[in-house]
Symmetry: C2
Subunit: 140 residues, 2 copies
DNA sequence: AATAAAGTTGTAATGATTACAAGTTATAAA
DNA sequence: TTTATAACTTGTAATCATTACAACTTTATT
Protein backbone atom coordinates (compact mmCIF):
# COMPACT_ATOMS: atom_id res chain seq x y z
CA UNK A 1 0.00 0.00 0.00
CA UNK A 2 2.75 2.38 1.04
CA UNK A 3 4.65 1.18 -1.96
CA UNK A 4 1.84 2.16 -4.30
CA UNK A 5 1.53 5.55 -2.67
CA UNK A 6 5.20 6.46 -3.03
CA UNK A 7 5.04 5.00 -6.47
CA UNK A 8 2.18 7.30 -7.37
CA UNK A 9 3.93 10.33 -5.92
CA UNK A 10 6.92 9.41 -7.96
CA UNK A 11 4.75 9.27 -11.06
CA UNK A 12 3.05 12.61 -10.53
CA UNK A 13 6.28 14.41 -9.69
CA UNK A 14 8.05 12.98 -12.68
CA UNK A 15 5.16 13.99 -14.90
CA UNK A 16 5.18 17.53 -13.53
CA UNK A 17 8.92 17.82 -14.03
CA UNK A 18 8.48 16.94 -17.66
CA UNK A 19 5.38 19.05 -18.31
CA UNK A 20 3.32 15.97 -18.97
CA UNK A 21 -0.36 15.94 -18.09
CA UNK A 22 -1.90 12.69 -16.89
CA UNK A 23 -4.74 12.49 -19.39
CA UNK A 24 -7.36 9.78 -19.42
CA UNK A 25 -5.58 7.95 -22.24
CA UNK A 26 -2.22 8.14 -20.52
CA UNK A 27 -3.61 6.89 -17.24
CA UNK A 28 -5.14 3.92 -19.00
CA UNK A 29 -1.87 3.13 -20.76
CA UNK A 30 -0.05 3.27 -17.41
CA UNK A 31 -2.68 1.07 -15.79
CA UNK A 32 -2.42 -1.42 -18.64
CA UNK A 33 1.34 -1.63 -18.23
CA UNK A 34 0.97 -2.10 -14.48
CA UNK A 35 -1.60 -4.86 -14.84
CA UNK A 36 -0.06 -6.65 -17.80
CA UNK A 37 3.57 -7.37 -17.04
CA UNK A 38 4.22 -8.89 -20.44
CA UNK A 39 6.34 -6.10 -21.95
CA UNK A 40 3.55 -5.41 -24.43
CA UNK A 41 3.85 -4.01 -27.93
CA UNK A 42 1.92 -0.95 -29.08
CA UNK A 43 -0.42 -3.32 -30.88
CA UNK A 44 -1.14 -5.22 -27.66
CA UNK A 45 -1.76 -2.05 -25.69
CA UNK A 46 -4.05 -0.79 -28.41
CA UNK A 47 -6.15 -3.94 -28.48
CA UNK A 48 -6.21 -4.05 -24.71
CA UNK A 49 -7.71 -0.57 -24.45
CA UNK A 50 -9.76 -0.03 -27.58
CA UNK A 51 -12.96 -1.43 -26.01
CA UNK A 52 -12.59 0.91 -23.05
CA UNK A 53 -11.61 3.92 -25.18
CA UNK A 54 -13.23 3.44 -28.59
CA UNK A 55 -11.71 6.64 -29.99
CA UNK A 56 -8.19 5.62 -29.02
CA UNK A 57 -5.55 6.13 -31.67
CA UNK A 58 -2.26 4.31 -32.03
CA UNK A 59 -0.56 7.66 -32.47
CA UNK A 60 -1.70 8.54 -28.96
CA UNK A 61 -0.14 5.37 -27.62
CA UNK A 62 3.13 6.17 -29.36
CA UNK A 63 3.04 9.73 -28.04
CA UNK A 64 2.22 8.51 -24.55
CA UNK A 65 4.95 5.92 -24.45
CA UNK A 66 7.54 8.34 -25.79
CA UNK A 67 6.53 10.93 -23.20
CA UNK A 68 6.60 8.40 -20.37
CA UNK A 69 9.96 7.12 -21.54
CA UNK A 70 11.42 10.63 -21.49
CA UNK A 71 10.04 11.07 -17.99
CA UNK A 72 11.77 7.84 -16.96
CA UNK A 73 8.55 6.02 -16.13
CA UNK A 74 8.78 3.48 -18.93
CA UNK A 75 11.62 1.68 -20.63
CA UNK A 76 11.72 0.72 -24.29
CA UNK A 77 12.95 -2.78 -25.03
CA UNK A 78 14.61 -3.38 -28.37
CA UNK A 79 14.81 -7.11 -27.82
CA UNK A 80 12.84 -7.83 -30.99
CA UNK A 81 14.12 -7.05 -34.45
CA UNK A 82 11.01 -5.41 -35.77
CA UNK A 83 8.80 -4.23 -32.93
CA UNK A 84 9.45 -2.26 -29.73
CA UNK A 85 8.23 -3.49 -26.37
CA UNK A 86 7.54 -1.41 -23.29
CA UNK A 87 8.40 -2.10 -19.66
CA UNK A 88 6.88 -0.39 -16.62
CA UNK A 89 9.55 -1.92 -14.41
CA UNK A 90 12.45 0.53 -14.47
CA UNK A 91 14.66 -1.11 -11.85
CA UNK A 92 17.80 -2.73 -13.22
CA UNK A 93 17.07 -6.18 -14.60
CA UNK A 94 17.68 -8.34 -17.64
CA UNK A 95 15.31 -9.72 -20.26
CA UNK A 96 15.06 -13.19 -21.70
CA UNK A 97 13.14 -13.99 -24.86
CA UNK A 98 11.94 -17.54 -25.43
CA UNK A 99 12.37 -18.53 -29.06
CA UNK A 100 9.56 -21.07 -28.78
CA UNK A 101 6.66 -19.29 -27.08
CA UNK A 102 7.89 -15.75 -27.74
CA UNK A 103 7.36 -14.65 -24.15
CA UNK A 104 9.76 -12.21 -22.57
CA UNK A 105 10.85 -12.90 -19.00
CA UNK A 106 12.54 -10.64 -16.46
CA UNK A 107 15.54 -11.85 -14.52
CA UNK A 108 17.55 -10.39 -11.69
CA UNK A 109 21.17 -9.55 -12.35
CA UNK A 110 23.76 -7.35 -10.70
CA UNK A 111 25.30 -5.40 -13.54
CA UNK A 112 27.66 -3.46 -11.27
CA UNK A 113 29.77 -6.58 -10.60
CA UNK A 114 30.71 -6.92 -14.25
CA UNK A 115 34.40 -6.92 -15.12
CA UNK A 116 34.64 -4.74 -18.18
CA UNK A 117 37.70 -3.88 -20.27
CA UNK A 118 37.68 -1.30 -23.02
CA UNK A 119 35.48 1.43 -21.61
CA UNK A 120 38.03 3.46 -19.65
CA UNK A 121 36.95 7.09 -19.63
CA UNK A 122 33.53 6.21 -21.02
CA UNK A 123 30.43 7.56 -19.29
CA UNK A 124 27.95 4.70 -19.07
CA UNK A 125 24.33 5.85 -18.87
CA UNK A 126 22.29 2.75 -19.71
CA UNK A 127 22.91 -0.98 -19.48
CA UNK A 128 20.71 -3.45 -21.29
CA UNK A 129 21.00 -7.19 -21.16
CA UNK A 130 19.09 -9.34 -23.63
CA UNK A 131 19.23 -13.13 -23.47
CA UNK A 132 17.41 -15.59 -25.67
CA UNK A 133 16.82 -19.31 -25.64
CA UNK A 134 14.12 -21.66 -24.45
CA UNK A 135 12.14 -21.00 -21.28
CA UNK A 136 11.54 -23.59 -18.59
CA UNK A 137 7.99 -24.32 -19.74
CA UNK A 138 9.00 -24.86 -23.36
CA UNK A 139 12.04 -26.95 -22.41
CA UNK A 140 9.79 -29.71 -21.07
CA UNK B 1 48.98 -15.58 -40.38
CA UNK B 2 48.04 -18.91 -38.87
CA UNK B 3 45.09 -17.19 -37.35
CA UNK B 4 43.87 -16.02 -40.73
CA UNK B 5 44.28 -19.49 -42.17
CA UNK B 6 42.24 -21.24 -39.50
CA UNK B 7 39.79 -18.44 -39.75
CA UNK B 8 39.40 -19.03 -43.47
CA UNK B 9 39.00 -22.77 -42.97
CA UNK B 10 36.38 -22.01 -40.42
CA UNK B 11 34.58 -19.81 -42.93
CA UNK B 12 34.62 -22.32 -45.77
CA UNK B 13 33.54 -25.23 -43.59
CA UNK B 14 30.74 -23.21 -42.07
CA UNK B 15 29.59 -22.17 -45.52
CA UNK B 16 29.62 -25.76 -46.78
CA UNK B 17 27.68 -26.96 -43.78
CA UNK B 18 24.98 -24.43 -44.56
CA UNK B 19 24.93 -24.95 -48.33
CA UNK B 20 26.11 -21.41 -48.89
CA UNK B 21 28.30 -20.58 -51.88
CA UNK B 22 30.96 -17.95 -51.49
CA UNK B 23 29.98 -15.78 -54.43
CA UNK B 24 31.82 -12.66 -55.52
CA UNK B 25 29.30 -10.42 -53.77
CA UNK B 26 29.42 -12.42 -50.55
CA UNK B 27 33.19 -12.43 -50.48
CA UNK B 28 33.21 -8.65 -50.89
CA UNK B 29 30.70 -8.23 -48.07
CA UNK B 30 32.83 -10.43 -45.81
CA UNK B 31 35.95 -8.47 -46.76
CA UNK B 32 34.18 -5.20 -46.05
CA UNK B 33 33.16 -6.39 -42.60
CA UNK B 34 36.70 -7.57 -41.89
CA UNK B 35 38.27 -4.28 -42.96
CA UNK B 36 35.67 -1.94 -41.47
CA UNK B 37 35.16 -2.83 -37.84
CA UNK B 38 32.43 -0.24 -37.34
CA UNK B 39 29.43 -2.59 -37.07
CA UNK B 40 28.12 -1.18 -40.35
CA UNK B 41 24.53 -0.87 -41.51
CA UNK B 42 23.29 -2.30 -44.80
CA UNK B 43 23.41 1.24 -46.17
CA UNK B 44 27.08 1.61 -45.24
CA UNK B 45 28.01 -1.73 -46.76
CA UNK B 46 26.13 -0.82 -49.92
CA UNK B 47 27.90 2.51 -50.34
CA UNK B 48 31.22 0.93 -49.51
CA UNK B 49 30.90 -1.64 -52.29
CA UNK B 50 28.81 -0.04 -55.01
CA UNK B 51 31.86 1.43 -56.80
CA UNK B 52 33.54 -1.94 -56.88
CA UNK B 53 30.37 -3.83 -57.83
CA UNK B 54 28.16 -1.40 -59.79
CA UNK B 55 25.35 -3.94 -60.22
CA UNK B 56 25.15 -4.63 -56.47
CA UNK B 57 21.66 -4.69 -55.00
CA UNK B 58 20.68 -4.05 -51.42
CA UNK B 59 18.57 -7.19 -51.54
CA UNK B 60 21.76 -9.15 -52.15
CA UNK B 61 23.35 -7.58 -49.09
CA UNK B 62 20.33 -8.51 -46.99
CA UNK B 63 20.38 -12.06 -48.37
CA UNK B 64 24.09 -12.34 -47.78
CA UNK B 65 23.96 -11.07 -44.22
CA UNK B 66 21.03 -13.32 -43.36
CA UNK B 67 22.83 -16.33 -44.80
CA UNK B 68 26.08 -15.52 -43.00
CA UNK B 69 24.17 -14.98 -39.78
CA UNK B 70 22.54 -18.39 -40.08
CA UNK B 71 25.96 -19.90 -40.67
CA UNK B 72 27.21 -18.21 -37.51
CA UNK B 73 29.77 -16.04 -39.30
CA UNK B 74 28.06 -12.72 -38.60
CA UNK B 75 26.08 -11.36 -35.69
CA UNK B 76 23.16 -8.95 -35.99
CA UNK B 77 23.18 -6.08 -33.52
CA UNK B 78 19.82 -4.61 -32.56
CA UNK B 79 21.39 -1.80 -30.59
CA UNK B 80 19.65 0.85 -32.68
CA UNK B 81 15.92 1.35 -32.68
CA UNK B 82 15.43 1.52 -36.41
CA UNK B 83 18.38 -0.01 -38.23
CA UNK B 84 20.28 -3.28 -37.83
CA UNK B 85 24.06 -3.38 -37.58
CA UNK B 86 26.31 -6.30 -38.44
CA UNK B 87 29.35 -7.62 -36.60
CA UNK B 88 32.01 -9.93 -38.01
CA UNK B 89 33.41 -10.49 -34.51
CA UNK B 90 31.46 -13.43 -33.12
CA UNK B 91 33.42 -13.92 -29.89
CA UNK B 92 31.53 -12.95 -26.73
CA UNK B 93 31.73 -9.20 -26.14
CA UNK B 94 29.54 -6.24 -25.31
CA UNK B 95 28.60 -3.17 -27.31
CA UNK B 96 28.56 0.45 -26.29
CA UNK B 97 26.81 3.16 -28.30
CA UNK B 98 27.91 6.76 -27.88
CA UNK B 99 24.91 9.08 -27.86
CA UNK B 100 27.06 11.96 -29.09
CA UNK B 101 29.06 10.64 -32.04
CA UNK B 102 26.89 7.58 -32.68
CA UNK B 103 29.87 5.22 -32.87
CA UNK B 104 29.53 1.71 -31.51
CA UNK B 105 32.44 0.34 -29.49
CA UNK B 106 33.26 -3.21 -28.46
CA UNK B 107 34.18 -4.03 -24.91
CA UNK B 108 35.40 -7.17 -23.20
CA UNK B 109 33.17 -8.72 -20.57
CA UNK B 110 32.90 -12.12 -18.97
CA UNK B 111 29.22 -12.95 -19.10
CA UNK B 112 29.66 -16.34 -17.43
CA UNK B 113 30.44 -14.73 -14.08
CA UNK B 114 27.00 -13.09 -13.90
CA UNK B 115 24.86 -13.86 -10.91
CA UNK B 116 21.40 -14.41 -12.32
CA UNK B 117 18.17 -15.16 -10.53
CA UNK B 118 14.96 -16.06 -12.29
CA UNK B 119 16.15 -18.30 -15.11
CA UNK B 120 16.22 -21.67 -13.37
CA UNK B 121 15.49 -24.36 -15.92
CA UNK B 122 15.90 -21.95 -18.81
CA UNK B 123 18.16 -22.86 -21.71
CA UNK B 124 20.20 -19.77 -22.54
CA UNK B 125 21.40 -19.67 -26.15
CA UNK B 126 22.44 -16.06 -26.74
CA UNK B 127 23.58 -13.25 -24.46
CA UNK B 128 23.65 -9.66 -25.67
CA UNK B 129 24.83 -6.68 -23.70
CA UNK B 130 24.12 -3.18 -24.93
CA UNK B 131 25.41 -0.13 -23.11
CA UNK B 132 24.98 3.50 -24.06
CA UNK B 133 26.42 6.78 -22.88
CA UNK B 134 29.25 9.05 -23.93
CA UNK B 135 32.53 7.71 -25.26
CA UNK B 136 35.93 8.88 -24.00
CA UNK B 137 36.51 11.14 -27.00
CA UNK B 138 33.15 12.88 -26.69
CA UNK B 139 33.46 13.24 -22.90
CA UNK B 140 36.37 15.68 -23.33
C1' DA C 1 -13.95 34.53 -19.82
C1' DA C 2 -9.75 34.65 -22.63
C1' DT C 3 -5.52 32.86 -23.96
C1' DA C 4 -2.01 29.69 -24.45
C1' DA C 5 -0.12 25.32 -23.94
C1' DA C 6 -0.72 20.47 -24.13
C1' DG C 7 -3.22 16.41 -25.82
C1' DT C 8 -5.90 13.54 -29.24
C1' DT C 9 -6.82 11.75 -33.57
C1' DG C 10 -6.85 10.38 -38.56
C1' DT C 11 -4.25 10.45 -42.56
C1' DA C 12 -0.22 10.51 -45.01
C1' DA C 13 4.71 9.93 -45.29
C1' DT C 14 9.00 7.55 -44.13
C1' DG C 15 12.14 4.00 -44.25
C1' DA C 16 14.04 -0.60 -43.16
C1' DT C 17 13.20 -5.11 -44.43
C1' DT C 18 11.07 -8.85 -46.99
C1' DA C 19 8.48 -11.17 -50.91
C1' DC C 20 8.56 -12.31 -55.35
C1' DA C 21 9.67 -13.37 -60.05
C1' DA C 22 12.82 -13.37 -63.89
C1' DG C 23 17.23 -14.00 -65.31
C1' DT C 24 22.11 -15.64 -64.29
C1' DT C 25 25.70 -18.55 -62.45
C1' DA C 26 27.78 -22.53 -60.53
C1' DT C 27 27.70 -27.41 -59.21
C1' DA C 28 26.97 -32.33 -60.12
C1' DA C 29 25.53 -36.04 -62.89
C1' DA C 30 25.40 -38.35 -67.25
C1' DT D 1 31.32 -31.59 -72.61
C1' DT D 2 26.40 -31.21 -72.27
C1' DT D 3 22.49 -31.23 -69.13
C1' DA D 4 19.88 -30.55 -65.15
C1' DT D 5 19.35 -28.72 -60.83
C1' DA D 6 20.14 -25.88 -57.10
C1' DA D 7 21.84 -21.59 -55.58
C1' DC D 8 22.48 -16.65 -56.42
C1' DT D 9 21.58 -11.86 -58.04
C1' DT D 10 18.76 -8.17 -59.03
C1' DG D 11 14.88 -4.79 -59.54
C1' DT D 12 10.36 -3.90 -58.21
C1' DA D 13 6.66 -4.11 -55.30
C1' DA D 14 4.74 -5.07 -50.82
C1' DT D 15 4.83 -4.94 -45.77
C1' DC D 16 4.76 -2.88 -41.53
C1' DA D 17 6.36 -0.18 -37.46
C1' DT D 18 6.98 4.43 -36.52
C1' DT D 19 6.80 9.39 -37.25
C1' DA D 20 5.12 13.87 -39.33
C1' DC D 21 1.57 16.79 -39.75
C1' DA D 22 -2.60 19.44 -39.37
C1' DA D 23 -7.18 20.12 -37.47
C1' DC D 24 -9.57 19.87 -33.51
C1' DT D 25 -10.32 19.33 -28.41
C1' DT D 26 -9.11 19.67 -23.67
C1' DT D 27 -6.81 21.63 -19.75
C1' DA D 28 -4.38 25.12 -17.11
C1' DT D 29 -3.39 30.03 -16.23
C1' DT D 30 -4.14 34.90 -15.98
Amino acid sequence: MEEIKTNFEDITSRLKNNNIRLSHQRLKVLEFLHRNRIHPTVEQIYHGLIDEIPTLSKTTIYNTLNALTEAGLVKILNIEENEARYDIETDEHGHFKCKVCGNIYDFKVNMDSLEIKGLDGFKILTKDMYFSGICAKCVE
